[in-house]
C-alpha cells in the first residue's frame, strides 16, 4: 500500500518536473494572456484584470508554473556543472514571482489628484467602496469588484441604529433622469442659442432659499431662484436689499445699519457696516453666532473669503439691485405658483423683469435667444440606473448600486440608487444620510501641497514636452516642511512611499490638476534580484554553455 502511494507520488513529482508538463502549462499561460489582451483592447484594462489577470485560475496557472520550476530543479540535484545556468534561470524566476507576490499583497499603488494650493495626504486606490455618511458616523464598506451585474440581497453592514442591504450592483451602468414628485421643487429645461451655438440647460430649484441653481455660458450666468426671492427683490431700490439666511429672507436697508435680527432658529444675526478709512473702502459684516461673513454688496451677493474669493457655499447672501448690476451679465429665472416662468436681466443699465412670452426672449448679449422647453413644478429629477455598455476608457464608465437602508427604531426602510457620479442624499425615517460609491484610500504619514504646476510645450505646439509639480511636503509627526519638485523620472521619496509625476488634466475652470502616482513596493529589490539572477542564468545557459556543447560543426 505504502509503496503504491510512494510510486504515485514519485510519478506526480516526475511529471511536475518534466518538460511534458511544463510545455502545455506555458501554452495555457500564453493563451490566457492572449485572451487578456484581446479583452483589454475591446473593454479596457479594468475588465481584462477582472476576467483574466486577477482571477483564481490565472493565479493557479502561475502557481503550477512555480511548482514546476522548483520540482524541475529538485529533480536535477545534485548540481551538475553543465546545468548551472539552468539552476540560475529557474531560481531567478522563482525569486521574481516571490517578489511580485509581495508587491501584490503588501504594496500600495494609488494616485493623488491635487489642485493648486490644496494640501492632501489621502491616496486613492483602485478598489471601490461604498461610503455612507450620517450626521454621527461614516461607514466605508467594501464592494466586491465585478464585471457582471449582481442582483440579490446582501446585508453589507449593521449598526445599532440601522442596516444597509445591497440589492443590485451594476458595475457598468447607464444613468437616466426621471422626475419624481416633490413639493416645492421646480425644474426647467431651456435652450439658449444664437447662430453659432445651441445649448440645452436644465436648472433646478429645490424649493428652499439655500441653493440657487446656476449655469454659466461664458461670462453669462443663468440662475434659477425661488419665486419668493424673485418677488421680494423685484422693486428694490438702490440701497434696499434682502438678506437671505438658510431659507429665511429679511428686508434690510444698507444705509440703516447696524441691525439685529432674531432668526427663526433663535440665533442672533448682527449686521454692521465697517469702514476702512485708509483704503476708502467699506463692507458689511454679518455675524451669526460666532461665524462672521464679509460682504461687498456692489461686488457680489455672496460673502468674500480672505483672498477676495467668492464663497458660493455660504449660507448667507445679501441680495440687492446693486449686487445684481455690478455682477457680470446675468439672467434670473423663477416660476410663479401658476407655473409661469419669469425672467429678469439688465438691459441698457435698467433692471428688466418680464413674464416669459411664448416664442422666447431675445437677450441683450451675443444675440442669444432663450427658449423654454418645459417647466416641471413640484417635481425633482432623480437618477436611475440600468445596465449599460462597457466603455474602453474607464472614466466613461459609471458604477451604480441600489441599496436599502432600514432604520430600526422607526421601522422605516428606503430603497435608493447610489453611484460614483455624485453623492445621493436621502432621508430614512429620522435619519438623514449621504451615500456614494468611491475609491478606497489610505492616508500618508505626510501631506503634499501643490504650490505650482508647470508645463513646457514643444515649440510651436500645445503638446507637453515636460511637466512638473512644485510641492511642499508637510511631515505629520515632526511638523517639518520642505519643498520638492516632482517631474518625470524625478520622484519624491519619503517614508517608504514614492510619489511620481504621472499625468495632469484640466478641471472645469481650466485649472491644471496634477496627478501623482503613489507607490510603496516591499517586493522591489527582491524582484530586481530575481531578474538579475534570471538574466545571468540565461546568458550562462544559452550563450556560453549550450552553444559550446553542440556548437556549429565545421
Amino acid at each position: 500500500m505504502k509503496s503504491r502511494l510512494e510510486s504515485q507520488f514519485k510519478w506526480i513529482r516526475k511529471l511536475l518536473g518534466s518538460a511534458r508538463f511544463a510545455i502545455p502549462l506555458l501554452g495555457v499561460f500564453a493563451l490566457a494572456m492572449m485572451v487578456g489582451t484581446v479583452i483589454e483592447s475591446r473593454f479596457g484594462a479594468s475588465v481584462a484584470t477582472l476576467t483574466v489577470y486577477m482571477t483564481w485560475w490565472f493565479f493557479l496557472i502561475q502557481g503550477l508554473m512555480l511548482l514546476s520550476l522548483i520540482v524541475a530543479v529538485l529533480d536535477r540535484l545534485p548540481m551538475q556543472k553543465r546545468l548551472y545556468g539552468f539552476y540560475l534561470i529557474h531560481a531567478g524566476i522563482v525569486i521574481l514571482i516571490v517578489g511580485s507576490v509581495l508587491t501584490r499583497y503588501l504594496g500600495i499603488d494609488g494616485t493623488i489628484q491635487i489642485e493648486k494650493g490644496l494640501e492632501k495626504s489621502e491616496v486613492s486606490l483602485q478598489e471601490d467602496q461604498l461610503i455612507l455618511e450620517t450626521t454621527e458616523e461614516k461607514l466605508s464598506l467594501t464592494l466586491e469588484p465585478r464585471v457582471l451585474t449582481w442582483t440579490g440581497l446582501k446585508t453589507l453592514a449593521k449598526t445599532g441604529l440601522f442596516k444597509i442591504d445591497l440589492i443590485r450592483y451594476i458595475p457598468f451602468a447607464k444613468a437616466e433622469t426621471i422626475f419624481v414628485p416633490k413639493k416645492g421643487s421646480t425644474h426647467v429645461d431651456l435652450v439658449v442659442r444664437n447662430e453659432q451655438l445651441a445649448e440645452k440647460i436644465s436648472l433646478l430649484n429645490p424649493g428652499n432659499l439655500i441653493s440657487p441653481n446656476s449655469k454659466k455660458m461664458g461670462p453669462l450666468e443663468i440662475k434659477m431662484i425661488s419665486w419668493d426671492e424673485f418677488e421680494r427683490t423685484r422693486e428694490s431700490a438702490h440701497q434696499a436689499a434682502r438678506i437671505i439666511v438658510q431659507g429665511e429672507s429679511q428686508s434690510i436697508e444698507l444705509t440703516k445699519l447696524p441691525l439685529n435680527i432674531t432668526l427663526s432658529g433663535g440665533e442672533q444675526l448682527k449686521a454692521r457696516q465697517v469702514r476702512l478709512e485708509k483704503a476708502s473702502l467699506s463692507f458689511i459684516e454679518v455675524q451669526i453666532g460666532s461665524r462672521v461673513y464679509k460682504f461687498f454688496p456692489r461686488y457680489s451677493e455672496y460673502p468674500l473669503k480672505d483672498h477676495l474669493e467668492v464663497d458660493r457655499s455660504s449660507p448667507v447672501r445679501i441680495v440687492g439691485k446693486d449686487s445684481y448690476i455690478n455682477q457680470g451679465p446675468w439672467l434670473h429665472l423663477a416660476v410663479d405658483p401658476n407655473g409661469q416662468m419669469h425672467v429678469r436681466f439688465i438691459e441698457k443699465g435698467a433692471l428688466k423683469t418680464l413674464a416669459y412670452p411664448d416664442g422666447g426672449i431675445l437677450l441683450p448679449w451675443m444675440n442669444l435667444r432663450l427658449a423654454l422647453t418645459k417647466v416641471r413644478k413640484d417635481e425633482t429629477p432623480e437618477l436611475v440606473f440600468s445596465e449599460g455598455a462597457i466603455h474602453k476608457e474607464s472614466d466613461k464608465n459609471i458604477k451604480a448600486a441600489q441599496i436599502q437602508v432600514t432604520h430600526f427604531e422607526s421601522a422605516t426602510s428606503t430603497k435608493f440608487w447610489i453611484s460614483d457620479l455624485t453623492a445621493t442624499e436621502q432621508r430614512v425615517g429620522p435619519l438623514s444620510l449621504a451615500a456614494m460609491i468611491g475609491k478606497k484610500s489610505v492616508k500618508l504619514p505626510f501631506s503634499v501641497q501643490l504650490e505650482k504646476f508647470q508645463m513646457e510645450h514643444n515649440p510651436g505646439t500645445m503638446d507637453a514636452a515636460s511637466y512638473e509639480s512644485d510641492v511642499l511636503v508637510h511631515d505629520s509627526a515632526s511638523k517639518e516642511v520642505h519643498s520638492h519638485k516632482i517631474f518625470m523620472n524625478h520622484p519624491l521619496k519619503k517614508a517608504g512611499f514614492t510619489l511620481y509625476q504621472s499625468s495632469y488634466f484640466q478641471d472645469s475652470d481650466n485649472e491644471y490638476v496634477s496627478v501623482l502616482s503613489v507607490n510603496r513596493d516591499p517586493g522591489r529589490w527582491i524582484k530586481y534580484f530575481g531578474a538579475f539572477v534570471l538574466v545571468i542564468g540565461l546568458i550562462w545557459h544559452y550563450l556560453i554553455v549550450y552553444t559550446k556543447i553542440s556548437g556549429i560543426k565545421k
Binding site: A30, Y53, P459, Y546
Partner: protein
C-alpha cells in the same frame, strides 16, 4: 523584384537628372526662381514641435497630403504654393495639385472617382465631411479606417490652406522669434532665410545640418540597392566559392551605410533612434545582418550570409516603400519616454532580439521550402543549429529587454509590470520561444518539426511587434483591417500557415 529594378532605374535617373540640373542651372537667379535656391530648401523652419529643414517639411506634407504631377522638388512645390497660390503655381509648372483622398467612402462624399480632389471640392464638402467625422467619432467604434480617412482629408485641406495663407511656413525673424511667413516682406525672404540658420543655437544647427545630410544622402535607399547587390553576390557565392569574400565585404558595407543612417538619425533628434516602428525595424535589419555576418564568418559559409542579406533586403524594402505602416518622420517624444539611457537600452535589446527571431524565421522558411522541393528528404540539422542559436540569442535578449522595460517602468512610475498589451505580448512571444527550447530539450521538436515550430513562433513576435499597434489598438472591429498594417500582418500570417501546411502535407506523403 520588378519594383527593386524600378528603384534602381529611378535612382539612376535622379542622379543623371541632378547632373543635368547642375549643368543647366542659370547663373543669375531672378526673383521668380526664388524657390529654387538651395538656401530655401535647407532653411530651418518650425514644424510639429521641432526645427526641421524646409525640404523635410515639404516632403512629408507632399507625401501625406497631396497628389500632384508636378516635376518640381518638394521644397519648390511648398515654397511656390506659399508665395504664388495654387492657380499661379499650376500655371507656372503646367501641372495639377490636388488633395489626396484614400478612403472609398470619403470619395463618395466628395462625389469623385479619382484618388484625389481639388481643394475647392473639399472646401465645398467640408460641412458634410466634418459632420460624418463627428458622427463616426461619436459612434464609439473607435478609430475606424473611415474616421481616419475623413480626418486625413480634412487635415490635408487645412494644412494646404495654412500654407496658402502663409501661416504654415515659420521663419526665424531678427528678434529670434518664429513668425509666420505672412509677417515677412518677400523682398527680405532670402536674406532672412540665410540668416535664420545662423540664428539657431549650436545644437539646433548641428541637428539641422545632420538632417539635411540624411535627407540628401538617403542612406537607407542606398543600403537597399547595395544589399540587393550583396545578396546576388552571395547567391553566386553558393555556387562559386570565389564570391564568398566579395559578398562578405559587400554585406559589411551595407552594415556600414545603415549604421551611418542610424547615427545620423540619432544626431538629428539627440536621442537614441529607437522611438517608432520605422526605427525598430531599422534596428532589426541591422541586428539580423550582424548575426548573419558573424555566423558566416565563423562558419566560412555563404548560405547564412545570403539569408541574412535576404532578411535585410526585405526589411529595407519595407522601410522604403511601406510608408503608411512605417512612418520615417522624426517627432518629439512624449515626456515619459525622454530618458536616453532606458530608452536606448530597453528598446534596442528588445529590437535586437526580434532581429534574431526574424533571421531564424527566414532561415526556417527557406529550409522548409527547400526540403519540400527536394525529392529525397535531406537532413535539416545544419539549418536547425543556426536557427537554434538565433533563437537562443533572441530569447536571452528578449528576456533581458522585458526586464529592462519593467525596471524602467518601475523607475518612471513605480510599476514593474502592468499587463499592458505591448508588454504582455512580448512576454507571450518569450513564453512561445521558451516552449520551443523546452520542447527541443524534451525531444518533442526534432528535425523538420523544430524548423516548422520556429517558423510559426515568429507570428507571435510579429503580433507583439506590429499587431499590438495595428490590430489591437484599433479595437478589433472590422474597420481596423482596412488600415495598411493589419492587412500586411494578415497576409504574412496566411502565407506562413500556407507554407506550414504544405510542408506538413509534403513530409507526411514523401514522393518516391
Amino acid at each position: 523584384m520588378r519594383d527593386l529594378f524600378t528603384l534602381i532605374i529611378l535612382k539612376w535617373c535622379n542622379l543623371t537628372g541632378l547632373i543635368f540640373l547642375i549643368l543647366l542651372a542659370p547663373t543669375s537667379r531672378a526673383d521668380n526662381h526664388l524657390c529654387e535656391q538651395s538656401v530655401v530648401a535647407e532653411s530651418p523652419t518650425l514644424s510639429e514641435g521641432r526645427v526641421k529643414p524646409l525640404m523635410v517639411v515639404a516632403r512629408e506634407f507632399r507625401k501625406r497630403s497631396l497628389s500632384d504631377n508636378c516635376r518640381v522638388s518638394d521644397s519648390v512645390l511648398y515654397c511656390e504654393l506659399s508665395i504664388y497660390g495654387v492657380a499661379e503655381f499650376e500655371k507656372r509648372n503646367n501641372c495639377r495639385v490636388e488633395i489626396r483622398v484614400e478612403h472609398d467612402r470619403v470619395r463618395e462624399i466628395l462625389k469623385t472617382q479619382s484618388r484625389s480632389a481639388r481643394l475647392e471640392l473639399v472646401d465645398d464638402s467640408r460641412f458634410a465631411l466634418t459632420t460624418e467625422y463627428q458622427n463616426e467619432e461619436a459612434s464609439g467604434r473607435g478609430e475606424t479606417g473611415y474616421a481616419l480617412g475623413l480626418g486625413r482629408v480634412l487635415s490635408s485641406a487645412n494644412r494646404l490652406h495654412e500654407i496658402l495663407d502663409r501661416s504654415d511656413w515659420k521663419v526665424l525673424d531678427s528678434s529670434n522669434q518664429w513668425v509666420s511667413l505672412s509677417t515677412v516682406t518677400m523682398a527680405d525672404l532670402v536674406q532672412l532665410l540665410t540668416l535664420s540658420s545662423e540664428r539657431l543655437t549650436n545644437q539646433e544647427q548641428f541637428q539641422l545640418r545632420n538632417e539635411i545630410t540624411l535627407e540628401k544622402t538617403q542612406p537607407f535607399s542606398w543600403a537597399l540597392v547595395l544589399a540587393l547587390g550583396a545578396f546576388l553576390l552571395a547567391m553566386a557565392g553558393l555556387k562559386f566559392a570565389i564570391w564568398y569574400l566579395p559578398s562578405l565585404i559587400a554585406a559589411c558595407s551595407v552594415l556600414g551605410i545603415q549604421a551611418f543612417g542610424v547615427v545620423l538619425r540619432g544626431f538629428v533628434t539627440s536621442r537614441a533612434p529607437v522611438t517608432n516602428m520605422y526605427e525598430t525595424v531599422m534596428w532589426a535589419g541591422l541586428g539580423a545582418l550582424f548575426m548573419g555576418i558573424v555566423i558566416a564568418a565563423k562558419q566560412k559559409k555563404t548560405l547564412f550570409l545570403a539569408l541574412a542579406l535576404a532578411t535585410q533586403v526585405i526589411i529595407l524594402f519595407m522601410m522604403r516603400f511601406s510608408t503608411s505602416m512605417l512612418d520615417s518622420s522624426l517627432r518629439p517624444l512624449v515626456p515619459v519616454l525622454r530618458d536616453n539611457f532606458w530608452l536606448s537600452t530597453h528598446v534596442t535589446t528588445i529590437t535586437l532580439s526580434y532581429a534574431c527571431f526574424a533571421f531564424a524565421w527566414i532561415i526556417s522558411n527557406v529550409a522548409l521550402v527547400k526540403s519540400m522541393m527536394r525529392k529525397k528528404f535531406a537532413s535539416l540539422d545544419e539549418w536547425n543549429t543556426v536557427i537554434r542559436i538565433n533563437i537562443q540569442v533572441g530569447t536571452v535578449l528578449l528576456a533581458a529587454g522585458i526586464i529592462l522595460g519593467g525596471v524602467w517602468a518601475d523607475y518612471s512610475w513605480g510599476r514593474f509590470w502592468g499587463w499592458d498589451p505591448k508588454e504582455t505580448w512580448s512576454l507571450i512571444a518569450l513564453i512561445i520561444y521558451m516552449m520551443i527550447l523546452h520542447g527541443k530539450y524534451a525531444g518533442w521538436f526534432r528535425g523538420l518539426g523544430f524548423t516548422q515550430a520556429s517558423a510559426f513562433a515568429f507570428m507571435f513576435v510579429l503580433m507583439a511587434w506590429f499587431g499590438v499597434n495595428y490590430i489591437l489598438a484599433t479595437g478589433l472591429h472590422s474597420y481596423g483591417f482596412s488600415s495598411g498594417g493589419a492587412s500586411f500582418l494578415l497576409t504574412v500570417f496566411l502565407a506562413q500557415v500556407g507554407i506550414l501546411t504544405l510542408s506538413r502535407v509534403r513530409s507526411s506523403f514523401p514522393v518516391r
